[in-house]
Subunit: 178 residues, 2 copies
């Protein structure tokens, strides 16, 4: 609960690099996530190159603040974890297949575990998803049968934003039926 | 990390009821989740009635073990958090709209936070998603513009399953590009 309460979306980072062992522990917390039929669709690309970070920020609606994060973890869902036939598949924001929903769900579990583990490690993140598959995939040579669920910017926080408001429990909880 | 490592999908529960204050703290951990543009699409239905639990287990491919859990938290994603126009919308496994992917993603964040908080509270869960929208929604009178992302069975564990295998980091992590 401590990590959940403390977590903020941080959009300004210190110059300090992130220790390799912390990056590994973070990836490990994603690796251990549960998934439907244990299919583990998540793939993570660790990006530190300034050039790639700038391109990724550019296609994320020019969110230039992103580049201040020393590390991006680009979180990709692989449809091949569920569709084994060797047929061409392209997935994007308008795909109708149930499998696309399943891999987005399961990859979101892994990203959430990393996001919370980052707090535990004294690090900060922001989950960015304001981009299109068409624009983001070519930057990192990601094939068309993979879906980028989010970029987790990662680093030491240079800001401490206040908690954003949430709907009260009464608005989101019902008992026994809708 | 402790909660992440300790978490198991538990399919056999003790008869003990779950304390009300623990259920509230669990819902609270879901309520605090981040979401795209802070849209908070998650809605939770707390179900304890034996009759409803039996029906929900029935449409979940007859997973009779589910009924041993004293509480189900039925986790629903509301498309109205993103589509404000008062037009009829029906969502299901084959919906193509990007908004359906977004609300599944964001509700999965909230469910993951509850799943991990349950471990912190000494409780166990299993995230069940083996049902169809068409069969599950009528049981709890859930309207057709909501998407049931999962049922979290909740209770005190009557089993302690071994950790299931995961792909090694080398298989799921890449550096700088795909």
């Amino acid at each position: 609960m401590e990590e959940i309460k403390m977590r903020r979306s941080v959009r300004n980072y210190l110059d300090n690099a992130v220790e390799e062992e912390k990056i590994i522990q973070l990836l490990e917390s994603g690796r251990l996530a549960p998934s439907g039929s244990n299919t583990q669709p998540w793939r993570f690309i660790v990006v530190k190159s300034k050039e790639s970070k700038e391109k990724l920020a550019e296609v994320s609606n020019q969110q230039k603040w992103m580049v201040s994060a020393p590390v991006f973890i680009v979180c990709v869902a692989d449809i091949r974890s569920r569709i084994k036939e060797e047929v061409a598949i392209e997935v994007d924001e308008n795909s109708a297949e149930e499998e696309v929903k399943q891999i987005i769900r399961d990859t979101s579990i892994a990203i959430t575990q990393m996001m919370l583990e980052a707090v535990n490690l004294g690090l900060a993140t922001c989950w960015v998803a304001w981009f299109t598959q068409k624009e983001i995939r070519p930057i990192l040579h990601i094939p068309a049968d993979k879906y980028v669920v989010g970029i987790l910017t990662l680093g030491y926080a240079a800001e401490n934003p206040a908690a954003r408001p949430r709907k009260p429990l009464e608005e989101i909880v019902r008992y026994e039926r809708w």
